[in-house]
Symmetry: C2
Subunit: 776 residues, 2 copies
């Protein structure tokens, strides 16, 4: 057989196996006529995209073998799960990962049965699918993932099939420009294959229906060299695709060698549901939106449909594809690439196999010196910048810092002492810190930052995404999908652990001095804690040294999503480095110098999490110490938010005994929280003392104003906390009525000052902790 015939054999086999997965419970080789009991009772899958995915798979396989090309495959239309599974089975890697799914008739039967079947495998290109780093359930991220995988993998080609429906999404539309961030020598190459099968679910697609001339301009405008492969005659199309791929890979080589500036891409125009039933019940199906899911719906009960299914499957000539034992014929097995060159077994698609631990400098070396607690200020993210700089220097090819142009604004600029921003478009003299192999990736698209990083991690590397706190909501949905991927992967023995996805959320809700209400939203934490406890972690270091300790911990971790919330504005230095390490290791603890209950029962617990709320809590403790010195106050700071949960809910959870000992079971707890207050209720509602818990936090009040005015707008300020204590400690109310009134007045005075002078009262703004005579 010639090369194109071999390709056709493989394609027919993959198509046959795909249809089988969607429909059959049994009789996989059609050794007997199809009977109702061979058919699944519920037909759940998507045929429409599948023949196109299979077409790309087999053609790329030829290239891999001929050029010994390192390649992985991203199936944008991840609903075409049967294609990826068929491919892995034909390449033998499915059986390697799942030995019970043998490469024979019985294995084929199981392969068919398990698909979209209870207790079986998902309908999408899920973590369960060998060779996948992209599930494609939520559409939009295929191309961003492809680029993320290509960065710092200079010999890799990432083939990326993009559905014409997916191409309408925002994240995908933005992703084309990722080529401006790709370095020809240190990065690999992405080959986008825009799959115009004309339809999404029930509608035509924009890119399939604009004039071809416009589409070509669009792709050229995005900076690619488009190649059109269009038609529906398999033989013609095989020849055209093979020829085009030869050209395309020659152009890729030219690009790598510097003799071409633009990378190629392919526009593949084929019918939706290609090779499937042309007409069903009198209406056209192949080439229409009706082919999207299951072209023949009533196969079990309707004899005619069942006969059509059989005819359809037999049209692939299974006897030419599989031997009587159901094994793929030599024409197939001998043409698949070998070992790790198989896209279904490429280690890049199981990145943990390639993961190298980061070389981390000792974070203690970056510590801020703390001579007295809460007496001097640092900018936590600026301090962290020094550490990150040296992380980057020590790990020049597998650590990247992503952000939507906020690395400098978030005060991590120290990193630019050792690296630049990746940039491959024009550079002007007034630009700073741009170069082709920069480790910092800044694009004004949170989607791209997230998508690039996800795939960078899933292919075995490390990184951190710094974002304004409010705008990280833009990637809520992507976070959800990544967390789900991690959770599912944990149950798959052959998936190796990957580096955690680390978020640094700065420019947070309490310090939007320049911006205002649109920039005030701490709700990402609520989204995060909805995901399985085993994959999410949330940290709120209150000062520079705790931030260093937390960051080091997160960079070492695996298979989590770590969220760190930390300010860029000056905050008080609370902990020496040794104290910070202990505090972060515990995850929370009493701040003894701010408490006066040692050896006694506290009258009230002031709990706090987050830098600004902690500052206000300390200031409140100082006010209480001054005005109500006999009141026993315990100040507890929480860094690791998950400690608040019971151990049954989260692995970091604290036992009830510990919780009770720290927070008491019967004393008022005034909890000053960085985020929305109910999150604390949610984490603690099972605790004995929950009824005594009173939480302050962001309650969606805000505008462009001073930091202390923001605190007052949401009642997290020191004065209000003192009032909360007075209102809640039994019998204090009457005694402390004068003090309470002074607090009300202090708030009024503080507000009036902002209205008159535009800034906070110096006594508020410059407040530091004064050690008390009675302190240790």
């Amino acid at each position: 057989m010639d090369a194109l015939e071999l390709i056709d054999v493989y394609w027919r086999a993959a198509n046959y196996l795909s249809v089988g997965q969607i429909y059959l419970l049994d009789n996989p080789l059609l050794t007997e006529p199809l009977r109702p009991e061979h058919i699944k009772p519920r037909l759940l899958g998507h045929w429409g995209t599948t023949p196109g995915l299979n077409f790309c798979f087999v053609h790329l396989n030829r290239i891999i073998r001929e050029r010994d090309q390192d390649m992985i495959y991203i199936a944008g239309p991840g609903h075409g799960g049967p294609a990826a599974v068929a491919h892995a089975w034909l390449e033998g890697s499915y059986t390697e990962k799942y030995p019970e799914i043998t490469q024979d008739a019985e294995g084929m039967r199981r392969l068919f049965r398990q698909f979209s079947f209870p207790g079986g495998i998902p309908s999408h290109v899920a973590p369960e699918t060998p060779g996948s780093i992209h599930e494609g359930g939520e559409l939009g991220y295929a191309l961003a993932h492809a680029y993320g995988a290509a960065f710092d993998n200079p010999d890799l080609v990432v083939a990326c099939v993009i559905g014409d429906g997916e191409a309408e999404t925002g994240p995908l539309a933005a992703s084309w420009h990722s080529n401006k961030f790709l370095d020809r020598s240190s990065d690999g190459v992405v080959l986008p294959i825009l799959h115009l099968n004309g339809y999404k679910i029930a509608n035509p697609t924009v890119l399939a229906r604009i004039p071809e001339e416009e589409l070509v301009k669009l792709m050229e405008g995005y900076g690619y060299r488009p190649h059109i492969v269009s038609g529906d005659d398999p033989a013609v199309m095989h020849a055209l695709m093979a020829e085009t791929l030869d050209t395309v890979f020659d152009q890729i080589a030219e690009f790598k060698h510097g003799s071409a500036d633009r990378l190629p891409m392919i526009i593949l125009r084929t019918p939706k549901g290609w090779t499937g039933p042309a007409i069903v019940d009198g209406v056209p199906v192949e080439g229409t939106w009706r082919a999207h899911q299951v072209p023949l719906a009533a196969v079990r009960d309707n004899d005619e449909h069942r006969a059509m299914l059989e005819e359809w499957m037999r049209s692939y000539r299974p006897n030419e594809l599989f031997d009587p034992e159901g094994r793929p014929v030599a024409a197939i097995t001998e043409t698949v690439p070998e070992g790790p060159r198989r896209m279904s077994a490429n280690p890049h698609a199981n990145g943990g196999e390639l993961l190298r631990p980061l070389l981390l400098p000792d974070f203690r070396d970056y510590a801020v010196e703390v001579k007295a607690p809460a007496a001097a200020h640092s900018e936590p993210t600026r301090v962290l910048g020094g550490f990150l700089r040296d992380v980057i220097a020590a790990n020049p090819v597998d650590f990247r810092l992503m952000g939507p142009d906020e690395t400098a604004s978030n005060r991590l600029s120290a990193v630019f002492e050792v690296t630049d921003r990746a940039w491959h478009a024009e550079t002007l003299p007034t630009d700073e810190n741009l170069s082709s192999d920069g480790r910092v990736m800044e694009v004004l698209s949170e989607h791209l930052c997230q998508g690039w990083l996800e795939a960078y991690l899933l292919t075995g590397r490390h990184g951190l995404f710094n974002s304004y706190e409010a705008f990280v909501h833009i990637v809520d949905a992507m976070f959800n999908q990544h967390a789900k991927w991690l959770q599912a992967s944990k149950k798959i023995p052959w998936r190796r652990p990957v580096a955690s996805l680390n978020y640094l959320l700065s420019s947070h809700v309490w310090r939007q001095d320049h911006n205002g209400f649109t920039h005030q939203d701490p709700g990402f934490l609520d989204v995060v804690v909805n995901k399985k406890a085993e994959v999410v972690r949330v940290y709120l270091p209150p000062d520079a040294n705790t931030l260093l300790s937390v960051a080091d911990h997160c960079l070492r971790s695996r298979d989590y999503v770590n969220v760190i919330v930390a300010g860029k504005q000056p905050v008080l230095d609370l902990f020496t480095m040794d104290e910070a390490v202990a505090h972060c290791t515990r995850g929370l603890g009493i701040i003894d110098w701010a408490s006066n209950d040692e050896g006694a029962e506290p009258d009230v617990v002031l709990a706090c999490a987050g830098d600004v709320p902690t500052l206000e809590t300390l200031a409140a403790a100082a006010l209480l110490r001054e005005h109500l010195p006999e009141l026993k106050v315990r100040v507890v700071n929480i860094v690791d938010l998950m400690r608040l949960q019971p151990p049954s809910e989260h692995p970091h959870g604290m036992s009830d005994d510990q919780f009770d000992a720290l927070f008491t079971t019967d004393k008022p707890i005034i909890f000053n929280f960085h985020g929305y207050p109910w999150l604390i209720h949610r984490l603690t509602y099972r605790r004995t003392g929950h009824g005594n818990l009173h939480v302050r936090g962001y309650k969606e009040e805000g505008t462009t104003t001073t930091p202390f005015d923001m605190a007052m707008l949401n009642d997290i300020d020191r004065y209000h906390l003192v009032m909360d204590v007075i209102d809640r400690v039994p019998e204090l109310g009457e005694r402390a009525a004068h003090l309470r009134q002074r607090m009300v007045d202090a708030r009024l005075r503080a507000r009036a000052h902002t209205r008159e002078y535009g800034e906070d009262l110096p006594e508020v703004r410059d407040w530091t902790w004064t050690p008390h005579a009675d302190a240790r």
Copy 2:
């Protein structure tokens, strides 16, 4: 003065006023040399984008006057708030809305002082800004908003300035293709002005740095006729822009008349911070990223900087712009458009002024007949489809249905009996229901659906967005911003109420039979309830009739975000229409036919919210009635989730007395919830009976499996509920040990059945309510 000179006068005035807002507390007309006390202590604003915004404003004003053009303005870089405010002040509408900000020196002083000042106005183009429907705080939505405003406003032009940074975002990149959904006769026109000032915050931008030839292809590929206006000499640029706008508006007229197929757009290339300080402290500022925020940072303390500021402001020659009393000179006031033609006073930008109540058919006419409770099935969204069809028919020019190609999949197809999908690209014979003026807008971009709808509503129209429940998270951030806009607007007397943003979330977490884990996420509700209670509403109608009642209510409401979660799969019909209306009006209630506690104290309360959880709860109640007939069970269904909160937390909140009466203060409450269980804890944690509340819900377990297996995976199934009752009703444990074991076995049997047959046990799947002898 000739037209271009007049333009320059206005431009200088707007620039002067912009700088004044950023810097000055006093001395607005520079009648004396600038002294430190004239300068704001905190300089908070963004200069860089502002001169470009002002440039566009004034040039568009000329067009408005010359052509009597109805036009509104969307400032993508909303951080250029000073520009929009300056413009509104010059046009006189600022003073109309805020009489204390007079059009004279004292008014100018106040105008300057209030900007980004505590107690003043936000730094962005906020709801407070006359003429704005787009705040531009979170970047990405300018162009989608522009199109949403243009739909069904045939005479309107929406000018939309897009920052080259914003253009990197996903939503913006997708928005260009909105032109495929715009009808030349029934819709208005969007004029995109891509503002290449070269930088975002600290980085160059992609579109400013690709070869111009590529950029032009990109815009042509998007289907526009690009016009380049590039330079930095004001005089030259005024001439060029004026000439270009003349051409552009001629081309718009051609398009409207059908003699051109493509609409124009403008590529405006000007220096960032144009006309600002060229060099500060030895480094270039104008034309660089350093101009993004405040070019001169130390104006209060640094005499040199202060002198530069004064020189900069005087460079606009204020004495030519304002008379000695500070009033804009005639050359300005006489060239601004009149009345509602002023972009700062155009009623489209305060859409409530134009809002017409929907003509709603009587939803009762669409009721499903319910002869016996829970005995027959309907598909709620299919029933709703009939109602929506007639809503569309009755409101042909101000109601739209948006969705990411899921209108049919979500079973709302009845709408296609009276309308089509809007579509202006090529159509093939196999397509269905496409036409140029369709009321249904389907694009595979949740961002576009949301963005279009937001602006459609803010310009005074109505609509509904139907989405898969899981993927609505894609627009979490946009929802946040819209809710904030609504909240802020409520405090602004001149902003008139607009129609609510209605979400219909279908294809929900419990019925992802085709898809699986990636499609299972009910967490949007958690995001929604983080926003101010006064603007958010959440409804979980359990059957078709309650869905009709809820939908009618939502379509009539104003200034809210309403979230309706409703399944498309068959569910039991629970309520007759009269019952449904009563139930929805109450927001929750006892289902008496499913309860047997009448006249007695219940032993347990079974609460439920959401269609699938309600079904399982009813089945559990039936099991309890059968096996433990002496147990007094009360079944409570919640439609309006906000009823669970105290009235202090939400306007729909129920008093403690009512809550206690319904849920008891001391009996176990087993709450079966559609979403993540902790949301119920969060809403009820202040209630007396909260300690007895046990919530079941989605706990992030799932895959492609049967509906009942999904329920079992998350322990919301009938059998588990019975076990929960046994475990929690005091003393039942011992007595009911046999029953408990039978429930465990029933789960095992149900699961085993799915594993063997691929579908749910018929007895489970086909379960209906059997009226009991003891029922009333």
